[in-house]
Every structure is written in structure tokens, then in C-alpha cells.
Subunit: 339 residues, 2 copies
């Protein structure tokens, strides 16, 4: 068998999966942000005709899956696996969507790193020959996340300057063994990294060390130069986490200052939209990737992108028990065929 | 490339992963049950020297991983991936253990189906050539689960006759590309199935349709006869769910009455130990498989086993919002080499 593992944490694909189509659904606030034109569906009301935010989030995820499958010229019955997760306790959004869709289901939880977790495992499933088509999808919802992790919205609490704004959105990508879209040529799987940050209102600082660890490992394992990529983009580190990551990566001898950005900074105009440190949530990197980045890849305005979704593995219980916030980040390299 | 997918939901492995070693840790009540002699570590106190049940559960998971690696004559640094999940919100048990172990980590959530979810994805990773060694592990804890899903223990509430008893335990298995242990030759990935059960105190009935669906699909896809297996064993359906599953499978033309049992019925003496419908939790099928079944396979008292861990995809929020309880079940076929 060909050696597929390179270095200690990276896989190089012999039969790279093709991203044949994507779709995105976002909330009203995201629809007013700088990437508005890249999103397929912008909701007028974040309840989406449902009785609860959780059911709305699950509907977003489900409908986004259907749209991505349609955009790929496939049928739901073509999908051999659905790899999906979200931020809600016990994956309420993904589980109920998987029930309605009837696709064999692997539930994943990597906090806001779930988009690249699903793309990583999905790529192995396609490259390994276990499926010809599958769907990778995640979601988050500002109102369901606030209720679960923080305070009731009715409480109207003041948010810290270091706080993030959870993206209301779902992003889905169809991975196939054949087709003409961009390919996934490498995945680098992250370790859980914890620098001891305990401030649940400063997730950027908590996640930055794991992002830096995975980025450095990716370049060590592949031997690629950082300028191989047009864009290196983390999931939802925001302004504070981005600056820490740049420094930590530079300390290890890799300069990403010229081609690095963060999905949490791209999706909102933080000053005009009052989103403080930036966007966050599984839906943040999912929508920025499946919307903006995928469409720019298709237009050849981008040709090589390293996407590193970033997750903070805290829970209300772990915070209440005084634990620090571990982070995790998985990197996925997406390039245009022939680039 | 060889065709690895057979039927619609099953994969047959060309390079089947070998289970080189396992380990289990259980709580005091499980240590008094019928399978006591099969568990490696029986805790005297379910706090395990920690300040909370959640930290105790995470320590169980971590220490069980270390023991399974030792039982496989490997080192922690040999493990290329850790596939793990648990029942706690945001996988507190698995995430904090992964932090301490430093193994590249994929977090999974399939409720009590997580053991076979981790074995399924782990098998694809080994068979596909992405790793030579990895660890699959899950846990649950009676006291952390009661607190999160039901009532404070101090409340002393009466339990319904249809209720299950969450197993306090962790089970870990090392999967490798070479070795002498039993192999995983097939995996059948489940769909989410929902018959509309809303009684969170009758999880067996909620999960049985998904178990039956996956069992029937396994035999349809593989063309195997039900008597190929010495033992067909579901995760935690308990007495009620087991009877429903037998009937549903028989309705589809497959008779499993002679070689079918349930981990939730094996782990406790339900009458003597007052565990009502039976054991449950991710740790139930994990400990019964990694303890009893694995050791009986090694002794050749069992040669071919179909393990179907079963999950109820409810959350406190979904129940409070009046939703029904979807179920999921993944099947893994484990056989002795040359059997």
C-alpha cells in the first residue's frame, strides 16, 4: 500500500476527493456583513418559521444539505455518509436533520473545528474508496448558543470587548470521488492544546495555541512553503486570536503575515456590526468556506487555500468547575485541480 | 481501486484492522455484576480521587486508554489518532483526556452508539492506510449522566420500571494494521431512525427500531446468514428494547432468537442489582465489548461477533421542546483470524 501519512499528523491523498458543490444559509446579521453576496440563502428571521431557535438551526442545516446536493447535481440518495455536528448539547441540530434526510450518519463534535473535522474524515472515506459521494456539514445559531452557553437573550447582558458573536449559519459541502471542483490534497489532524486560559469571554486566546500548533505541524509535515497558499485562514480566532497565532507561528520560523486571515474577521464588519472580537461558531468557518472561499476558488481568484477551523472544547460544566479551555484545530488544504 | 462498499451501508475491509489490545475500567456497581471478572480495573469509589464526577469520568477514560496501549505492547506516541466521545455536553470527558494524552483527536458523538462509531471510522482509517495504530474509546458515568440528563442524585427520585441504569465505565481498544488479535471485517453504518417515542424513561423502545434497521441492513448487504455469528449483541437496549428488536428483525425475515443478546442485560443482574430495564451509556457496550467479548474472543470461546452499539439522540432541550427520540445504531463485525 502507498504511504499516505506524511510526517506525524498529515495525510496526503492519492485519490483526492473533489468538492463538487456547496451551499450556505445564514441569518439576517450575516446577510448584512461584508460577505453577503457569497451566501445562497439569507434568512429574514432567525426563527426560520420554527417554534424554537434549536429547531430553526436544525432546519438550516437540513435545507443547506439539500441545496448543496442540488448544486452538485446529485440526489439525496447518492449520499453514502453524512458527517456532521454542531454546538448544541448532544448535536440536536445535526441529529434531527440526519433523521429527516435518512443518510447514514456519523455525528462529530469538535466545537467550532467541526467543519474541518468533517472534511478530514470525509476525505479519508472518499480517498479510501468507502464512498463515491458524501456530505460534510455544520451549523451554529447565535440565539441557541447564547441560551445554552451564556445568558438568556432577554437578560440583555453586556458583552466583553474580547467576546465573539456566534454566527447564525450552516455550510455544507459535497465530497465526491470524481468531478471538476477543487480537491482536498492534504489534511492535518490537530491535538488538543491548552495554555491554561480560563476566560470563556476570550475564546480567541484559548484557541490560538492549537491553531498555531496545527499550522506549524502542517508545514513541517508537508515541507511546503507558507507562500504555497494564496490564503491561510483560521476558523474563528477573531482579532485577538489572530494576532497571537501570527506570533506563535512566527516564533516557530514560519511567516504567514502576508497571506493569513480569519473567518471570524471576514464574516462581520466588527466595528459597524458591533461584533467585538469577531464571528465564531461552527457556522463561521463553514459559511465562509462554503460561501466565499469556495466561490472564489471556482472563479480562480483563489487557487490554494489552507483552512484551519478552530474549536474551544469548554462546556458550561467545565467552566463552572474551574477548568481551563482546551483548544483544537484541524487543517484542510483545498486547491484547484491543476493549480 | 477494489470495491470496498457492499450494499448500501456496509464496508468490507481488504486490510482489516486488528484489535491488538483492550482495557476497561468500571465503577463499584459494575464490579459487583455478572461480568466482574472480565474488567481490568474496578473502582472502589466512583469519584476516583477527583473533585467531580465529570473529572472522574475523564480520568477513567484517560487511564483506560493508557492501559489498553500497554496491553497492546505499544506506546502512547505510537497512537496516530484517538477517536472518542462520551455523553457529557461538549464531550468533556473525551476532550480533557485527549488534552492530557496528546494524541491527534477526532471527537465523536453518537450517544451510546459511540463505541461502534469509533470502531467504524477507526477501521476505515487503518484499512485505508492513514495510520498503523489508533485508539477507539468511550466512557459514561452514572452520576454525571444523572446530573446532566435527569435529576440531582440528592433528589432521590423514583425510577420508572422502563428506565435504564447508566454504566460507570470506560472501554478502549487499540486498532492496528498488523498483529495477532481479532479483526474487524465489516462495518455497517446506521441511519437515524425515529418511531416517535417521547418517553425519555423508555430508551430501549426508542432505540430498538434503529438497531433492527442496522442489523437487517447488515445481513442484506453482506448476504451472511444470521448463524454466521456466535453472538449478535446490541449496546444498551435492555429487556424491552431487546424484545422489540427481536420482533422487528424477525418481521424482516431474519431470525436472531438463538444467538442474540444485549450488553445492557449482560453487565448487570437487573433483579438483584435493581437496574430495571438494564444498563446503558456509552460505557455499557464499550466495557462489555472491551472486557467480556474481547477476552472470550481471545480464548476462542467466541469466534465471530456482531456488535451493534445503540444511541438515543435526545437532549434535555429536545425533550423539553416536546420532540421525539431518534435512535442510531452502527454494526461492527469482529472475528478471530482464520475463523
Amino acid at each position: 500500500m502507498a504511504i499516505k501519512k506524511i510526517g506525524s499528523q498529515t495525510v496526503k491523498f492519492d485519490n483526492p476527493p473533489i468538492i463538487n458543490g456547496t451551499s450556505t444559509t445564514v441569518g439576517p446579521k450575516e446577510g448584512e456583513g461584508p460577505l453577503s453576496e457569497y451566501f445562497d440563502v439569507v434568512l429574514k428571521d432567525d426563527l426560520y418559521g420554527e417554534k424554537s431557535w434549536e429547531l430553526s438551526e436544525s432546519k438550516m442545516l437540513r435545507e443547506t444539505v439539500k441545496a448543496a446536493i442540488q448544486n452538485s447535481n446529485k440526489k439525496i440518495s447518492d449520499m453514502e455518509y453524512m458527517l456532521s455536528g454542531d454546538l448544541l448539547n448532544q448535536l440536536m441540530s445535526a441529529s434531527f436533520a440526519a433523521r429527516d434526510l435518512g443518510i447514514p450518519f456519523f455525528g462529530l463534535y469538535g466545537a467550532c473545528s467541526t467543519m474541518t473535522e468533517s472534511l478530514s474524515l470525509g476525505s479519508m472515506i472518499i480517498d479510501g474508496g468507502y464512498a463515491d459521494n458524501l456530505i460534510a456539514v455544520t451549523s451554529s445559531h447565535f440565539s441557541s448558543a447564547e441560551r445554552q452557553f451564556r445568558f438568556p437573550l432577554e437578560h440583555g447582558n453586556q458583552r466583553k470587548p474580547t467576546a465573539h458573536w456566534t454566527v447564525t449559519g450552516a455550510g455544507a459541502a459535497v465530497l465526491s470521488s470524481y468531478g471538476n471542483g477543487p480537491i482536498i490534497n492534504y489534511v492535518t489532524t490537530g491535538k488538543v492544546v491548552d495554555y491554561g486560559i480560563k476566560d470563556a469571554n476570550n475564546m480567541g486566546a484559548a484557541m490560538a495555541p492549537s491553531a498555531a500548533d496545527t499550522i506549524v505541524k502542517h508545514f513541517e509535515d508537508t515541507g511546503l512553503s507558507t507562500d504555497y497558499y494564496d490564503l491561510i485562514v483560521t476558523g474563528d480566532l477573531g482579532q485577538i486570536g489572530k494576532e497571537i497565532t501570527e506570533e506563535l507561528v512566527l516564533d516557530k520560523g514560519y511567516n504567514i503575515l502576508n497571506n493569513y486571515n480569519d473567518c471570524g474577521l471576514l464574516i462581520f464588519d466588527n466595528k459597524a456590526q458591533d461584533t467585538h472580537a469577531g464571528g465564531s461558531g461552527c457556522g463561521c468557518s463553514a459559511c465562509v468556506f462554503c460561501g466565499y472561499i469556495y466561490k472564489e476558488l471556482m472563479k480562480k481568484n483563489l487557487n490554494r487555500v489552507l483552512l484551519i477551523s478552530t474549536g474551544a472544547l469548554l462546556s458550561v460544566t467545565s467552566t463552572q468547575q474551574g477548568q481551563s479551555i482546551p483548544g483544537i484545530a484541524h487543517a484542510v488544504s483545498i486547491i484547484n485541480q491543476g493549480s
